[in-house]
């Protein structure tokens, strides 16, 4: 295998491992990321990082 191909294969493997790790972390979540993202855009999800940070420093 040429150096260029082996580098490409290694990079692809690392990418797959990262996505598998993300899916492992999110597997315990109670709801879908997609639904939550839509709710955040619609403003239906009231807790925002900023409001919580504000509460913490109060």
């Amino acid at each position: 295998m040429s150096k260029k191909i082996s580098k490409h294969v290694a990079k692809k493997g690392a990418r797959h491992a990262r996505i598998a790790r993300a899916k492992q972390i999110t597997s315990k979540l109670s709801s879908s990321l997609s639904e939550r993202a839509i709710a955040i855009r619609r403003g239906e999800y009231v807790q925002s990082p900023l409001s919580v940070r504000h509460k913490r420093t109060d």
């Binding site: 972390i25 979540l29 990321l33 939550r36 839509i38 955040i40 990082p49």
Partner: protein, 176 residues
């Protein structure tokens, strides 16, 4: 045949990081040589979505940071092409808003009062995403908008933007 260009809305891209409805097709999309575009103003929505689960105590701060780093690495490796909002994107939102007012807004039952209510019109970010899709459509022959947001899909159709909803598809296809 010309290259396929896809603009992913937040609700589509984020499926890359969790096994959920349609995530297998997003995975297939990332194995496909199509260009995957993502609008820069949508980046905070990805971060906020991860953060919301930390706030609920469903993931730790370290895990949330790990998810954020995985997303950043996707940008660094150009697995996602970040599309910047330009003057043209902003100007075209007029067209998007005009069309959006013609689309009947969906109704829903308020869980607190039980009353029928009308959902809000498309948001400012929706308008920018649709405008960016129009912009890409002007530059490339084969452009697809990936979203599962019902109201946005209706507006996109009226703008002649081809929508792909991975929650309604069995296999990844480029048929219109």
């Amino acid at each position: 045949m010309s290259r396929v260009h896809c603009l992913l809305d937040t609700n589509a891209l984020i499926k890359r990081y969790k096994e959920e409805e349609g995530s297998n097709l997003i995975e297939a999309l990332f194995e496909h040589p199509a260009a995957k575009h993502f609008l820069n103003v949508c980046i905070p929505e990805i971060i906020a979505t991860f953060f919301s689960f930390e706030l609920q105590g469903e993931i730790t701060k370290d895990e949330r940071n790990e998810l954020k780093d995985i997303f950043i690495q996707d940008i660094r490796e150009y697995n996602i092409i970040i599309h910047d909002v330009k003057g043209k994107t902003i100007r075209q939102t007029d067209e998007v808003h005009e069309i959006s007012f013609q689309v009947p807004r969906p109704t829903y039952t308020d869980p607190k009062t039980g009353q029928q209510k009308v959902k809000p019109a498309i948001s400012a970010i929706d308008a920018l995403v649709l405008s960016a899709a129009l912009e890409l459509k002007g530059n490339y022959d084969r452009i697809f908008l990936f979203t599962s947001d019902g109201h946005m899909k209706e507006v996109a159709k009226r703008l002649d933007i081809i929508v792909k909803d991975v929650e309604k598809m069995r296999v990844l296809s480029w048929h219109i």
